[in-house]
């Protein structure tokens, strides 16, 4: 049965306590195609893929791989059936080399147990060249950029003989350039006859790379589309069930006094090198200042230094006319500085805590959440419920552990918490990473509402679209320095792109 398909999932049902994550889902993936799965946050995409990779077992339904019915007890069975998964959060060992990571846990052994690294290195090199993966087999994982780490994950699956590759939101952590490189690799894999399943919230990516699209909504499949015959608007409508504004309107708003200022800030990165080199700027009340730049040019270090998580080597930071250089996060939060971090799993959440505790992180010592040292649970529950409602966090279960929410809903929890802390100054880093189009629209509106309320906002984003549509002023960062300041209505992607590549505004405009 189903000989022409690489993967068929029929009538898949998967329940979690209180949630029907997959509700009789059918998925048909043809041999050799790139099949996109899109859908709102919590629609059940990752759950579906985890079942295909054997990480979860379906409650009901059947799975066929290359026409053969399979019942997988774990990833080992999936690998045996030629299925590989590139996880969103890489499962690599930082202080081992690329080659060592690839062979780790797979059975390239000589004489039963001897670990044959030489042979493995050769195969890794071959695979790397064959598919244009460009990895240095002897480099340590911790020394290579995210995009390359992801390619190591790809090699890992190929090395184990994968014919079907699952990519769960691979581009969420990549720069536009890295995304292009990934697509190049995917095209080569396709030419070599591999089948791929690709999950993304970015519809332009889906349009560019996929052959067919399955749209999911609330655990069900709502549409099967042929990429060539559809458009982003139609996909978005099938996803959300209504028309979506892909770009929000930014009403004019007059900024007020300066709230936040840094002068000649110097910050080092983890390796002790200067990551931020003499940056100065101001943010006024009711103003959004956007920082654009290719990832890894000091933005993360800048944000961490401003928010008290990283040491400031030199320079001065002022908030509401007070010198806050070197203050700890607690004092900064008491001064109403809040922070949406770029890495929600590392910084933004305690995955083992229920949602209601995550909703108060960073203000848990404030009244009414804490009264004379005791937590005030009724107030915590009440506010969490309110925020769940307001920010449409799904499922509406404040008792669920943070780690059990889908990626996008975790982000909504973080955003809800930080935005509702009555900030005077908010640092917003990659606020819409991993969010669906509907949620992005909502978050963008929320940020603009803060602007209306005269909050000073610093926005750091790798999405140029986002920076352009939200910012009042754009600063472009390159190798720890500001290349220039532009207004979005007076510039364009090309100009900013040149600055992101290291040209100063004067050079670009001369």
């Amino acid at each position: 049965m189903y000989e022409e398909y690489a993967v068929v999932m029929k009538g898949i049902v998967k329940r979690f306590p209180g949630v029907l994550a997959n509700d009789h889902v059918d998925l048909f993936v043809r041999k050799g195609e790139i099949h996109a799965i899109v859908g709102e946050n919590g629609a059940g995409k990752s759950t579906l893929m985890n079942q295909l990779y054997g990480l979860l077992h379906p409650d009901e339904g059947e799975i066929y791989v290359f026409g053969k019915k399979v019942d997988m007890k774990g990833p080992r069975d999936a690998i045996r059936n030629g299925i590989g998964m590139v996880h969103q959060h890489f499962m690599l060992v930082g202080n081992l080399t690329v080659a060592e990571n690839v062979v780790l846990g797979s059975e390239t052994t000589k004489g039963g147990f001897v670990f044959d690294l030489r042979e493995a290195r050769k195969r890794v090199k071959e695979l790397s060249e064959k598919y244009g993966l460009h990895v240095d087999v002897d480099a340590k994982i911790e020394d290579i950029p995210v995009g390359m780490q992801q390619r190591v994950e790809i090699i890992k699956t190929l090395y184990r003989g994968a014919e079907i590759l699952i990519f769960d939101e691979p581009t969420a952590v990549l720069t536009p350039q890295e995304t292009e490189e990934l697509f190049e690799v995917m095209r080569r894999l396709k030419a070599a006859g591999k089948t791929m399943i690709f999950i993304s919230h970015k519809l332009n990516e889906v349009m560019e790379i996929s052959d067919n699209i399955t749209v999911m909504r609330l655990g069900k499949v709502t549409a099967n589309l042929i990429t060539k015959e559809t458009n982003p608007r139609e996909i978005a409508r099938a996803m959300v069930g209504r028309d979506v504004v892909l770009r929000v309107e930014k009403p004019p708003h007059e900024p007020k006094d300066v709230v936040f200022e840094i002068e000649n800030l110097w910050v080092k990165d983890n390796r002790g090198l200067d990551a931020v080199r003499g940056v100065s700027f101001k943010v006024r009340a009711g103003e959004i200042v956007g920082i654009a730049g290719v990832a890894g040019n000091g933005q993360s270090e800048l944000v961490e230094a401003i928010t008290g998580l990283r040491k400031i080597e030199k320079g001065k930071v002022t908030l509401l006319n007070r010198d806050i250089t070197g203050l700890d996060p607690r004092s900064l939060r008491n001064m109403r500085m809040t922070h949406i971090p770029e890495d929600r799993l590392k910084y933004g959440m305690v995955l083992q805590y229920p949602a209601y505790y995550n909703m108060i992180l960073g203000k848990h010592w404030w009244e009414p959440y804490s009264i004379r040292g005791f937590l005030n649970h009724p107030a915590i529950f009440e506010d969490s419920k309110k925020l769940f409602e307001e920010f449409d966090v799904r499922p509406r279960n404040i008792n669920m552990l943070g780690g059990n929410f889908s990626g996008g809903n975790q982000q909504k929890i973080v955003v809800a918490r930080e935005v509702s802390s009555q900030p005077k100054f908010i640092v917003v880093a990659q606020p819409t990473r991993g969010l669906d189009v509907g949620a992005i629209e909502f978050i963008h509106k929320t940020i603009l509402k803060l602007r209306e309320q005269d909050v000073a906002i610093l926005l750091v984003s790798m999405e140029l679209e986002e920076v352009f549509s939200l910012s009042d002023r754009i600063l472009v960062m390159y190798e720890g320095e500001i290349m220039g300041e532009v207004k979005p209505e007076e510039t364009n992607f090309e100009e900013v792109g040149l600055m992101m590549a290291g040209k100063r505004l004067e050079e670009v405009r001369s």
Partner: protein, 346 residues
């Protein structure tokens, strides 16, 4: 379901361990039913047995709480033994000098002194971790040795009395814990009440207070904690101190409730038992009380078994298997899930 795992895992582990040990008993040619009957009788069969079990359980609850609190806060306090010694030693030094004081004053002063000593001893390791990153497993083990030798010096030189085993003088009568029950030579002091109160306090601290929220957050995810305004270095030191105070209290009740003087054997590995007890009790205060009771009962029961000609080491086997299974709770989970799956298919 997930909510009850914390209870199911240890319970199933204990049953499995008893079954396996039954085979071992059979293998040495005895009847397991008889052996277990003797053991239960030895632990709970008479009021003397019950008192004995409770006396053994009392300090184990406290060392279990000490280690369990550490785990919840993300620190591995292997030094409960040393903190217990320091607690008892300090309480001795204070307690022998309080002949003039009324009981309520003598009791509280001695208890507080012992707890502070335990807290201080543990805080050294916490502070070193916060300031230099030195791992608490290493530093607490070193502090254990210092405490052991320091105490043995103290009872041989400055605090020594009498001849024979090195020991300190008795503490003042007003600094002895009141006796709740006396059966023959066996005395049960108010120590058990102190232990249970300590468990309740730890529960309230962890689940109801802002400090508990911070301690657990730091234990789960230090990055998120730091981001959320929780100082990790402050927390490490504080968590170690609280853990050490509980271990110190274990030494205090052992001193004030049982021996009434400092002996070299007073701690006797109970600090290390705290690690197993915290594991079996899943770091939950109530679970720890039951785990300590289990260990206490196994120990008193095993003495009785010994008289019946069955090696008391069988208890070590049981204990070992329980700890193994709880630590490898994956195994127990899978065993239970298999059952469930089979049922679904049938």
């Amino acid at each position: 379901m997930e909510k009850y795992w914390g209870f199911i895992i240890p319970a199933v582990s204990v049953i499995v361990a008893l079954v396996i040990a039954a085979f071992v008993i059979m293998a040495v040619g005895k009847s397991p039913i008889e052996a277990y009957a003797i053991m239960v009788k030895g632990a709970f069969g008479s009021s003397a047995a019950i008192v004995n079990t409770i006396v053994k359980t009392t300090p184990l609850i406290l060392t279990g709480l000490a280690v369990g609190f550490g785990f919840r806060a993300g620190v591995f306090n292997i030094g409960a033994e040393g903190q217990m010694i320091m607690g008892a030693l300090t309480a001795t030094a204070v307690g022998i000098n309080l002949g003039w004081a009324p009981p309520y004053f003598a009791l509280s002063l001695t208890i507080i002194a012992g707890m502070l000593a335990g807290a201080g001893w543990a805080a050294i390791a916490g502070y070193l971790k916060a300031k230099t990153g030195a791992h608490e497993v290493v530093t607490t083990i070193m502090l254990n040795w210092i405490a052991t030798y320091l105490s043995s010096y103290m009872v041989q030189v400055p605090l020594a009395v009498g001849s024979g085993t090195p020991k300190s003088p008795e503490i003042a009568p007003s600094a002895k814990l009141p006796i709740l029950m006396k059966v023959g030579p066996m005395e049960m002091s108010a120590g058990i009440i102190i232990s249970v109160i300590a468990a309740i306090v730890m529960y309230v601290l962890l689940e109801k207070t802002t400090t508990g929220y911070e301690v657990k957050a730091a234990g789960f995810n230090p990055y998120a904690a730091e981001y959320g305004g929780i100082s990790i270095s402050k927390n490490v030191t504080m968590s170690m101190a609280i853990s050490g105070a509980l271990a110190g209290l274990a030494g205090v009740v052992e001193l004030m409730g049982v021996h009434h003087r400092f002996l070299g054997t007073l701690s006797g590995g109970k600090g290390f038992d705290g690690i197993s007890i915290a594991l079996i009790g899943q770091n939950h205060p109530i679970g720890i009380i039951f785990a300590a009771l289990l260990m206490g009962a196994l120990r008193t029961g095993s003495n009785e078994m010994q008289f019946a000609g069955i090696s008391k080491h069988i208890v070590m086997i049981i204990q070992g298997i329980v700890i193994f299974l709880v630590a490898a709770d994956r195994i127990v989970r899978t065993m239970i899930l298999w059952r469930k799956r089979k049922k679904v298919k049938a």
